[in-house]
Amino acid sequence: MKFGEELKKSFFIALGLILLTFPIMVVQVNTIENVIVWRWRNLIFIGLGGFIFSFVWLLFQKKKSESSPQTPAGHSRLHRIIDEPRLYRPALSIIAFFALIFPFVFSHYQVNIMTTALIYVMLGLGLNIEVGLAGLLDLGYVAFYAVGAYSYALLNYHFGLGFWSALPVGAILAAFAGILVGFPVLRLRGDYLAIVTLAFAEIIRLVLENWNEFSFGPSGISNIPRPGFFGIKLTPEQSAIYMYFLLILMCIFTIFVIHRLQHSRIGRAWVALREDELACQAMGIDKTKAKLAAFALGATWAGMAGVLFAAKTTFINPASFTFLESAMILSIVVLGGMGSVVGVVIAALALILIPEYLRVFSNYRMLLFGAALIIMMVFRPQGILADRRKKYEFHKLESGEGN
């Protein structure tokens, strides 16, 4: 038997899982009536599911360990498609065409979901500057998102500021918050930085939740106006379509800026910083300045996404800015492949759209999300599309020699 070893192993794993999950899965205590419900049927599910799952898991792991030395990173099929102009140009035009007709073909509901997904594309790309390029692990990215959303909501509430003037203000305030957070914590190394950013995000969320005079507490702010279209009043359907195109434009703008940044002086400094901080300093790069720039720029995008989010939903409260949201955005970056723009876009769309269309499993959504993160990390830690450095290669003239 070829799979004998794996079958035997998975049998024992399934047995172990049955034992492990026994109290939580089988016993349910009803504390009101003081009775215990025994759900023995769950054991069968766990046993069968565990067996099949661990079998597949072991097979993949075996395959991975057999094939890993030969395949060099960054030469996957996806990369070949992206590199080949004959393939990616038509693909890009099809995507562009689809994006253009999307709101006119699909329903209002679909357009709204797509708009949300596009906000996450922006957030993912913004965090990509911090995590993917500069290697600064930020677990509190959602704080800057909140700053953006609340600055639009509050400025509108108190001073009647419109969307278009709030957009740059929100971006600047978020960037300022980024510098404010970044400045004291830049001396810290990776994990400390992660936990401090997480702490900052929690502080901001808790203040928003409790400081009723300032932020209206947990009940949030409603009636935030949607962006105006040259003074024309739009129906909700029209404004959803308008919002959609606005976000498409913002995403294109983001991709453009990030693409330019990536290969600029500061972008290369970030990548160097990510790879080796000390060596990078020795090469004469101002570490503090580069890190602060990464924080500020990453935060700017979160701020803009926040303003757009507030304008789209017309209602915000602190519950939208929890740690789970940060984890979601970070997962987008990591699943997409750190530093890779195309990967992040694909991951953001996948992570937001797939759960939306799998409403049948809505209860199991987060469970599957958690499992997907683990599986992805175990089997493809470089993400959907690993980032590659730009290489400059020298090719000999091949035709010139024969003559």
Binding site: T21, M25, T31, Y192, F200
Partner: protein, 300 residues
């Protein structure tokens, strides 16, 4: 004075629980340099298992301290098994991966376990039986301190002393310290590193489970989400004391518990967690290596 004493006691009680959970974080971090995000969930699962076990035992007619002890043993066994499995599934395949990967997988594991418990049990708060109240205290002590608080502080102290002794004097403890200091060198000297890592997870999970049982009994209710806040605060405590340092985690837990208690008592109870996190930020800015941690030298 009385108010002060109450706050002090509350802080110490809370702090000992934080310290118990923080030990798991700090031990894992010391060895793997990994923030084990799922550790808070292990604590939550410990509390749930104890609740289930205690309910079954009470219905079988058992009472008093035997329920507490049995429930605690079952919770410890199950939590350790969970901790062990979590390590095997989510972290072991990622030993050679870049540093961010295990962290993401830890976040995934944390989300997974939360939802697993929520779906299999309930999303509501469950009342936790008051197992600690049955303990009778001598009058001289009972005048000053509630029995549940006394039990928590004493058991936490005993556990921490045991852990310190184990780490200091047993062969396994020595191996653990060796792996934490230099994993490759330890491997060369014939230490089974994988087994040591597994044991670290088991010990950390067991401590977290005991913390879960104690706090569940003290607070009186649990739900699937308690692991998140407790986990973050325990991690804060570990960082406060200097991550990787065992006495640091204990001290950090106590400092954090006291800070929270006094700040909520004298300033405002709405901002309980804000004080904890603000303390963390301040400590890290002014003393990044933590209270008792050693600063590490970086090399290229």
């Amino acid at each position: 004075m009385n108010f002060f004493w109450d706050l002090f006691l509350g802080g110490i009680t809370r702090g000992s629980i934080y310290a118990l959970i923080a030990l798991g974080y700090t031990m894992v971090y010391g060895i793997l340099e990994l923030i084990n995000f799922a550790h808070g969930e292990i604590y939550m699962i410990g509390a749930f298992t104890a609740l289930i076990a205690a309910s079954i035992l009470t219905m079988q007619g058992l009472t008093g301290i035997s329920v507490l002890l049995l429930a605690m043993v079952i919770a410890v066994l199950y939590s350790s098994a969970y901790g062990y499995s979590v390590e095997k599934i989510a972290y072991k395949p990622l030993r050679q991966a870049p540093r961010l990967s295990p962290l993401i997988s830890a976040i995934g594991m944390s989300i997974f376990l939360q939802n697993y418990v929520m779906l299999a049990q309930t999303s509501d708060f469950l009342p936790f039986p008051d197992l600690l109240m049955d303990v009778e205290l001598p009058e001289a002590i009972a005048e000053w301190i509630a029995p549940s608080e006394f039990m928590i502080v004493v058991s936490a102290a005993v556990l921490m002393i045991c852990l310190t002794l184990v780490l200091k004097f047993t062969k396994m403890g020595k191996a653990m310290r060796a792996v934490a200091q230099d994993r490759e060198m330890a491997m060369l000297l014939g230490i089974n590193v994988n087994r040591i890592i597994s044991r670290t997870f088991i010990i950390g999970s067991a401590l977290a489970a005991i913390g879960g049982v104690l706090i569940g009994s003290h607070v009186g209710r649990i739900n699937f989400y308690i692991g998140f806040a407790a986990g973050i605060k325990a991690f804060t405590a570990a960082v406060l004391g200097g991550i990787g340092s065992i006495p640091g985690a204990m001290l950090g837990g106590l400092v954090l518990g006291l800070t929270e208690s006094f700040a909520t008592g004298y300033v405002s109870s709405d901002y309980e967690n804000v004080f904890a996190f603000a303390l963390l930020v301040l400590i890290l800015i002014f003393k990044p290596e933590g209270l008792l941690g050693r600063s590490s030298q970086q090399k290229v």
